[in-house]
């Protein structure tokens, strides 16, 4: 089993375990209160994300996956 398969399987297992059997139950408009909480946003802190992405880009080979057209730097 490759690492990737293992991670996806683990994520799937954790997802099922933590949320119970009703994983797929797209919410009605009145059921979206929890999803609207600030800590549930997918892009939490734009400035923190940018700085972190920039430092990882200058120290690691992998980059991307987080949006397009962000501009480059001489740091890599």
């Amino acid at each position: 089993m490759t690492l990737r398969t293992a991670v996806l399987a683990l994520a799937g297992l954790a997802l099922t375990g933590l949320t119970g059997c009703s994983l797929w139950s797209p919410p009605q408009p009145w059921e979206k209160g929890e999803l609207a909480r600030p800590e549930m946003r997918l892009d939490q802190d734009p400035l923190a994300s940018r700085f972190n992405q920039h430092t990882y880009f200058s120290r690691e080979a992998a980059s991307g996956g987080n949006g397009v057209g962000g501009g480059g730097c001489g740091c890599n």
Partner: protein
């Protein structure tokens, strides 16, 4: 630019300021087996040369590498119900040294530079779609970057499913201070396709596929004998899952990366937004990263003579960032809801990169572990 999320036109504007500080170090000189030509033509081990000259390289001790101090600003302004504009400005003050050859700090020269970056994005909102146009520009002494992006988002009627498509074009120019190349140009074209799905009242899932094509001068002129292909394609698959707990939330992310340099990388991100305690919140976070080496990365063999390349081949790099290693970040963010519409945050992160921490293969030999500390202090106002 941030990835798409299943949200509509913002009702509130935001202005944020953040200062980030970064400092990295490594434990020793790096490659003690490397030999340099001595004064009378003989070859001496690197450690012996610098100990004799009273230089910084020797046995034990820490070598400071790069230090960065970055104030940054961000603002998001809704304009009526159909438009929003957001933008950012960043000033990176960078100083210190990076190794030019594996993790050997002997040949690293001191540098000091300021990078200024600005970006602007305008978004038009429709009932179930939105369209964004973005521009980014940055300059530093030896590097200039310009980027353009176009993103579209389409939501289902119930807004539980949102598709996003993004296109990006970067045009960079490098004029290294050591004159290795003049007006080196690099073009990057990016494509991103994804979907964000509200699975149930507590779970949000996002899947993103990315593709990029970089052409032009891709080598690092500050790394010794660095010669990389003039074309690099990269693919990414990213998964993000946010789960609302009774109080607080769990956030997890995984990214798979593969490129034509032969590098495979995995990134795992976990964060736990703990239940708030009054006006305070704490979010511990963990990130694990692992990468394989580029096909043209060559390990430093013992007894190798500096400064030539280890072997003669069409493409070569001694850049440790293309070697095989793993890295771990542990940290946390403390949040403080100061007053209605005002919040402050402080983040601390410790990062360590080591060839022994790779999974799915052996790490590259002869590279010294790297450690870095990041501190971020921010304040934000919504209006």
């Amino acid at each position: 630019m941030p990835a798409a999320h299943a949200e509509d036109a913002p009702e509130q504007g935001v202005v944020s300021f953040k200062w980030s500080g970064y400092r990295e170090a490594q434990a020793s000189s790096g490659t003690p087996e490397v030999h340099r030509p001595g004064a009378n033509g003989t070859r001496q081990p690197l450690a012996a040369i610098s100990a004799a000259s009273g230089g910084g390289i020797g046995q034990g001790g820490e070598y400071e590498r790069i230090k960065v101090s970055t104030p940054s600003l961000y603002a998001l302004v809704p304009l009526g119900r159909a438009w929003s504009v957001e933008g950012g400005a960043t000033l990176d003050a960078v100083s210190g040294a990076s190794p030019a050859y594996y993790s050997d700090m002997g040949g690293a020269g001191q540098m000091s530079d300021r990078r200024k970056a600005v970006d602007l994005k305008a978004t038009r909102y429709f009932e179930h779609q939105s369209l964004s146009l973005g521009l980014a520009h940055s300059t530093e002494t030896d590097y200039r970057s310009n980027a353009l992006s176009l993103e579209g988002r389409w939501s289902s009627d119930d807004h539980n499913t949102t598709w996003n498509l993004g296109l990006g074009l970067n045009r960079d120019q490098i004029d290294p201070t050591n004159g290795v190349i003049a007006q080196g140009r690099k073009t990057v074209r990016e494509l991103q396709l994804g979907v964000t799905q509200a699975l149930n009242p507590r779970d949000l899932l996002q899947v993103q596929l990315g593709y990029s094509l970089a052409t032009g001068y891709l080598s690092d002129p500050y790394k010794l004998a660095d010669t990389r292909p003039d074309r690099r394609t990269a693919e990414t698959l990213q998964l993000r899952w946010n789960h609302a707990l009774e109080r607080g939330a769990l956030r997890a992310g995984y990214r798979w990366y593969h490129d034509s340099f032969g590098i495979d990388a995995h990134t795992l991100d976990l964060a736990w937004a703990m239940p708030a305690w009054g006006a305070w919140s704490l979010t511990p976070a963990l990130r694990y990263y692992s990468q394989g080496a580029a096909s043209f990365y060559v390990d430093p063999p013992p007894g190798f003579f500096y400064p030539g390349p280890a072997v003669v081949q069409p493409y070569f790099s001694a850049d440790q960032r293309l070697s095989a290693f793993g890295a771990l970040t542990v940290g946390g963010t403390l949040g403080w809801a100061v007053a209605p519409g005002w919040s402050a945050d402080a983040t601390l992160q410790l990062y360590r990169q080591s060839s022994g921490w790779r999974v799915g293969g052996t790490g590259s030999p002869g590279i010294v572990p790297l450690t870095a500390l990041t501190v971020q202090l921010g304040v934000s106002h919504s209006f």
